[in-house]
Symmetry: C2
Subunit: 371 residues, 2 copies
């Protein structure tokens, strides 16, 4: 689908200079590209210019100017209009975006009045898997994109040359292009991203209503509850936009998941221990195989370590691990509910478990292998 | 309800010398009590004896001997029978347990044939909130119980003198007794512990089935998905027992939670942005208020820090925090899905955010305040 001779662009535009937009600007500059940015918020644009050295434009049209590729990095609801303005601003620019939801964006651009097929064919939906959904330019860095998978969702009407240009550009940032159908992308993120967000917020709201009636409920909540509800601290307006942009797909997955919970309820009411055990036993190896990084997937070990509640104890522990070249893949702090020390769950690659245990023992900890 | 003149026992028995049982043995020894232990698994009993210095008994009856309090620390299904044996072994011993579910235990003891009211009145249900559900004696420590809330669930038929003795004993361990009705306890843990376990395992199983069809799905899973599914790595047989022991209550909460998810689905299908935003906005402050420790509840800040993927980086970061006496309340590692660095979410008390930011900046990190 891509042209083998595609080369990275010499000039790019960034429309929306938040965290991802400014990171793209930094990655583009690092790759020797000329970068022009625009943001509707003058203060955000100024800050992005200071941080990334990008040239600040006065409008979307100015930003696109002579750019070969324009990245639309606005919040999800604003993407289609901004992308259409970019396409209209130049007869040759290739436009991509970084929105968390792809189908609705592509549909609007394909169906927009006054947009001919040729213009629409220059749009390539995209999404770098760069972790954070945060909005400000402050956390931006080229390294955020370095090594990240970057989903691209060209459709049947997308120009192969446009796909080639965006692919070469993304590769110049150090990211790994991953071609995926837009609808398939949206269904997969509905399962592993949008559904978890809803479950987390709904569980927190569910328990909070309970707390209103039963003040002791949170005293009984341990580390597991905190894990499940951590996502509930995400920015509400951002998630409202993402969930609405993918609402039909998310609603379908939510219905299937609620039905799965309903069948667990039936197992409980029937006191069907075998079915219940089957569910727990199916889930456990799947979770253990989901390592912090794909490199160590299939082989991680969790070590439980009790720690005193003291500033600096984590430094001693991680210093001991570092001295033996053990990489900590994941780490969970399980405080005693009323302080006075706690427990740490340290995840390491299975191949490093002996070195990790030795390092911990030498530093005076008593690790217990959990899984 | 407790006798004001109750004093801690001079001798205790521990039936079931796993993690909690051995921790109780250690705490009892530290408080100057004579401790006798028994476990059906001779190797576990030997290991507990080595670790805690407890006297190993040949049977439940031998262990109870002259003990004033016997703690039943077996898996949940074995508690009623073990407790009844302890009650029968001595006409004066007070018996308590540490099972995760309370109503079903109390009901069996109260309703058991051949047990008179006097014997049953010497049983006081209990549960230390000591974090781990792990089974082996290896991770045991008296400090696991130090400062922990310890739920006690006396019923109308429980002897006030027995409650007084157990309370004094638990206080001698350094724990904080928390009186609670058994049914209320079981309903609250259904919400904050049993429901989260089911949701986590069900979500992991749900996504794993998807992965079977769509191998890319886990490439799109970020840190949030890992948080929600961490509990799915728990020991299946242990949770099967806990969930079944509280099955009617858990089934009811599960039904209510599935209905809550159903109403989110309705919001999505109706594209009701206000309702969706309302849910997300209700959940967020509740989660932010749920700090790692109650001491800092109501005031925590999350700092996002990008880190290189290098052994030892965590030591540098936590060392810098420790040097400025900043206590890390929680920490989440968000790896880039394909390595090459990652992002850390560091939670600190709101009052320490300036010191934390300064410490991080001095160590060469660029923290971004998230919430």
């Amino acid at each position: 689908m891509t042209s083998p001779d595609a080369r990275p662009p010499a000039a790019i535009a960034v429309v929306g200079t938040g965290l991802i937009g400014t990171s793209i600007a930094l990655a583009g500059s690092a790759a020797g590209m000329t970068v022009t940015g625009w943001d509707p918020d003058g203060a955000v644009l100024d800050r992005a210019r200071e941080l990334s050295g990008t040239t600040a434009a006065g409008s979307v049209e100015d930003a696109v100017g002579a750019a070969e590729v324009a990245f639309v990095c606005t919040p999800v609801p604003a993407i289609p209009e901004a992308a259409l303005r970019c396409l209209a601003a130049s007869a040759s620019v290739v436009v991509s975006d970084v929105g968390s939801v792809k189908t609705s964006v592509v549909e609007v651009i394909d169906g927009a009045e006054g947009v001919d097929r040729t213009a629409a064919s220059r749009f390539v939906g995209g999404l770098p898997m760069a972790g954070s959904e945060r909005s400000g330019p402050e956390g931006a860095a080229a390294t955020l994109l370095d090594g990240a998978p970057w989903v691209l969702t060209p459709g049947p009407g997308t120009s192969p040359a446009a796909v080639g240009t965006v692919t070469a550009c993304v590769e110049a940032f150090g990211a790994h292009p991953l071609m995926m159908d837009a609808e398939r992308h949206d269904r997969l993120v509905a399962v592993v991203s949008h559904l978890p967000q809803i479950v987390s917020s709904a569980l927190m709201a569910f328990a909070a209503r309970e707390e209103h009636l039963e003040p002791d409920v949170m005293t009984l909540a341990a580390g597991g509850f905190r894990d499940l509800t951590r996502l509930a601290a995400s920015t509400p307006v951002l998630w409202e936009q993402i969930l609405r942009a993918n609402r039909t797909t998310v609603a379908g997955e939510l219905e299937r998941f609620a039905a799965a919970l309903g069948s667990v309820r039936d197992m409980l009411l029937a006191d069907d221990g075998a079915a219940l055990l089957g569910l727990l036993e199916d889930a456990r190896p799947a979770r253990l195989g989901l390592a912090a990084k794909p490199q160590v997937r299939g082989g991680v070990v969790i070590l439980q370590v009790r720690i005193p509640d003291r500033a600096g104890v984590l430094a001693v522990l991680s210093g001991a691990m570092g001295a033996r070249d053990v990489s900590i893949e994941d780490l969970q702090i399980v405080h005693s509910p009323e302080g006075g020390g706690g427990t740490l769950h340290v995840t390491v690659a299975a191949g490093q478990v002996d070195a990790a245990s030795m390092a911990l023992a030498e530093a005076g900890f008593r690790p217990v292998r959990l899984a």
